[in-house]
């Protein structure tokens, strides 16, 4: 899979890394049981601290997306559910915003200013 981070973004690097993995699972770029490259290599490849990568892996393990096994590396959990909460939230955002009387163009602006 392709890992991409932006060192100039305001989003913390470990969150960006975790997001990359969640995205890869959702797009099936990573499938259940697939092994991730060692944290050390991801860190070296991206020029970040290894603990930043491990922290992202830890978060994802707590979410049930990854399995971290000592000596056997990190892999996608066999029952990993793709993260889709943002899609549901977007649906409720649109309906709430419409209830508040916003037009479609204004809803897009509302999202844009949050980026």
């Amino acid at each position: 899979m392709l890992w991409k981070i932006d060192t100039q973004s305001s989003q913390p690097l470990h969150e960006q890394l975790a997001g990359q993995v969640r995205r890869a699972i959702a797009t099936r770029a990573l499938v259940e049981g697939e092994k991730l490259p060692p944290a050390r290599e991801v860190a070296r490849g991206l020029g970040v601290n290894m603990h930043t990568v491990l922290r992202a892996f830890q978060t994802l393990r707590d979410e049930g997306l990854l399995e971290v096994r000592r000596g056997r590396g990190t892999s996608v959990a066999p029952d990993a559910q793709p993260v889709t909460r943002h899609v549901e939230l977007a649906r409720s955002l649109v309906s709430e915003a419409r209830r508040a009387g916003l037009e479609d163009r204004e809803i897009l602006q509302l999202v844009e200013v949050q980026l």
């Binding site: 899979m1 392709l2 981070i5 932006d6 973004s9 092994k35 991801v42 070296r44 020029g47």
Partner: protein, 331 residues
């Protein structure tokens, strides 16, 4: 080396020199040889087979002619082959030509003046020197042949695609590819090796054991691409590792790798000797790197588009470093 020089060295100089090494001593010492000469030796180095010098010359000379003929053909022909054909054929031809010539020379020199063929002995050092010399000559022939014009491979004309990267963005790509044939083949060789260990000499079994371990390296490869370049790690241990630094790469492309065009399966060719090398686990998609010095490296992997676009982006970033990179944005 100019093409004309390459053709002359490969097609004329090497064959004539090798033939001379074999035929000159044989002709010079012909009258000093016994009626029958030793033509086969046991492991101890003692002769255990014989033939007349004429028959020996015809048989070994024919093998030499076939080998050297292959070099001559590759040097002289104007036909363009697939890239790895001329180097491979020249290497095999030069090797067999050189071994045959060496056998003629060693036979003539070591058996002149003997009363009878049973007195002949063969020094293991002569055999080792012959093999080392022939391998070196095969490498030289392959290196020269690799500079000759060859067929262009499909898909290498298109401009290499790249992703857009902002100065602060960093990318890393990793994927694995597994194949079953090296493990099956490795297991088969292992079993044959174990059987041979029981019935023949120890070293044959050990060599087979070594080959079967080498085969397992090709059961799984992991390919990574980042700002430092491309790496291929072999086997479950990820060792050994082959890396191509970004500064050596001129362009990366996603290509369809056909084993017949790259010399087969496994690690094919050699960047140093044949100017081309490929890691081939199966037919299908792969990454092709055109290096700055004209050499070509390829590796099979699924979905090669991402790493190819990543590498091309890093190549241009490496060539023209952005002054803003690594500095914090003021926004």
């Amino acid at each position: 080396m100019k093409e004309k020089t390459s053709r002359s060295v490969l097609g004329i100089v090497i064959p004539v020199a090798v033939a001379a090494i074999g035929l000159v001593p044989y002709r010079a010492y012909r009258s000093d040889l016994p009626d029958r000469i030793a033509s086969h030796f046991g492991v101890s180095g003692r002769a255990d087979g014989s033939m007349t010098p004429e028959v020996f010359l015809v048989i070994v000379g024919a093998l030499m002619a076939i080998g050297l003929g292959a070099c001559v053909t590759m040097g002289v022909t104007r036909r363009r082959f697939q890239p790895m054909v001329a180097p491979s054929v020249s290497a095999v031809g030069a090797f067999f030509g050189s071994v045959s010539a060496g056998i003629l020379a060693i036979t003539a020199i070591s058996q002149r003046g003997l009363e009878q063929w049973q007195d002949a002995t063969l020094s293991p050092w002569a055999v080792i020197a012959l093999i080392i010399g022939s391998v070196a000559l095969a490498g030289l022939a392959a290196w020269i042949a690799s500079s000759l014009p060859h067929q262009r491979q499909a898909g290498t004309d298109a401009a290499p695609p790249a992703i857009a990267l902002s100065p602060g963005e960093r990318v890393f790509w990793s994927a694995t590819l597994s194949a079953r044939w090296p493990l099956v083949l490795g297991l088969a060789i292992l079993l044959v090796g174990l059987a041979l260990l029981l019935i023949t000499e120890l070293w044959i079994g050990l060599v087979m054991l070594g080959i079967s371990i080498l085969m397992t390296f090709f059961g799984r490869i992991r390919v990574t691409a980042d700002r430092s370049g491309l790496s291929v790690r072999y086997g479950v241990l990820g060792w050994p590792r082959r890396s191509i630094p970004i500064r050596r790469i001129a362009a990366a492309r996603a290509v369809d790798i056909r084993p017949t065009e790259w010399g087969g399966w496994g690690y094919r060719g050699s960047l140093a000797i044949m100017r081309r090398a490929a890691v081939v686990l199966r037919a299908g998609p792969g990454i092709r790197l055109d290096l700055r010095d004209g050499k070509v490296f390829a590796v099979t992997i699924d979905d090669p588009e991402d790493p190819v676009r990543l590498l091309n982006a890093e190549i241009s970033r490496h060539a023209a470093p952005n002054p803003a990179s690594g500095r914090e944005s003021i926004f």
